[in-house]
Symmetry: C2
Subunit: 168 residues, 2 copies
């Protein structure tokens, strides 16, 4: 799928078909993360690819905002090693992974920020490494729409030359 | 350009041709940012589209790590309104914009984090709004390569099932 088309149509999906994702597709998603640019090329991210149904069920039970991880055929946990740019850099990598997946028909949703610490022991994540997000991936359980999104109007978020001057 | 191909080949470019970027392309880049998903759909970003040569020169003079902004035909400043997810969300939007641009042959480079406060008055950014990054965009001044990147090997950043267990 063309890049802007992927950006325009991607939707957050929380229910997935019971269909495995081919290894090549998973590999491409992980590569999308690995190849992402980061501040001073710090690459402060670590990706944990989870496909074991038992582990996915445990993550779904522990991640407060993401019980649907339990039903996904794949989740990638994104951990960050110490860097003042870790959240920014890893967020870029997650964005790359979600777009690469969507481009192959694989949907996802960002589960993050709240209550993920409980999931760290399940994945063997050291205490000095942060767990930023767990992103479940899968083919959408129901047909997805055309990417209609609720967003602020262009003129409210985009300005021309100076803050507050609407960009048309 | 196909999404993964854009992710795989995108390079940071700091020297741009003296060629304007068509309005439609700029519009698509801004839309790529606006349409990006954010935590709880907070959309804590504001984009300032700068094309005035005088302003671009001022920004280049002020942004310590980005003097090359002065020679770009376009820069987008990314400001964030208060949100605990602002850095993460806006980083995702920037990633979308850079990929959408690259897919249309437009290169960019993230200028950020250090010493941007001095640029805020130039853009009329209120004191309670943060300036996260200024991203100059332009057609590369010299032919770009095939996207060879210096990145950690896959097995060092990607793990299977548990942290530290290399993903192949």
């Amino acid at each position: 799928m063309e890049t802007f088309e992927a950006i325009r149509t991607i939707l957050s999906v929380r229910a997935y078909r019971d269909t495995p994702i081919p290894d090549e597709t998973i590999h491409q998603i992980v590569e999308a993360g690995r190849l992402t640019a980061s501040s001073q090329n710090g690459q402060p991210w670590r990706f944990i690819v989870v496909r074991e149904p038992g582990t996915l069920r445990q993550l779904g039970a522990l991640a407060r905002s993401g019980p649907y991880i339990a039903q996904a055929p794949l989740a990638i946990a994104i951990a960050t090693v110490e860097s003042r740019f870790a959240v920014s850099d890893a967020s870029r990598a997650i964005q790359s992974m979600m777009l690469a997946a969507w481009s192959q028909g694989v949907a996802s949703n960002w589960v993050g920020f709240h209550g993920l610490d409980a999931a760290k022991p399940v994945l063997g994540i050291p205490t000095d490494v942060d767990l930023l997000a767990i992103v479940p991936f899968g083919y959408p359980a129901t047909p997805v729409g055309k990417g209609a999104k609720k967003r602020l109007p262009l003129g409210e978020v985009a300005f021309s030359e100076r803050y507050g001057q609407p960009y048309e």
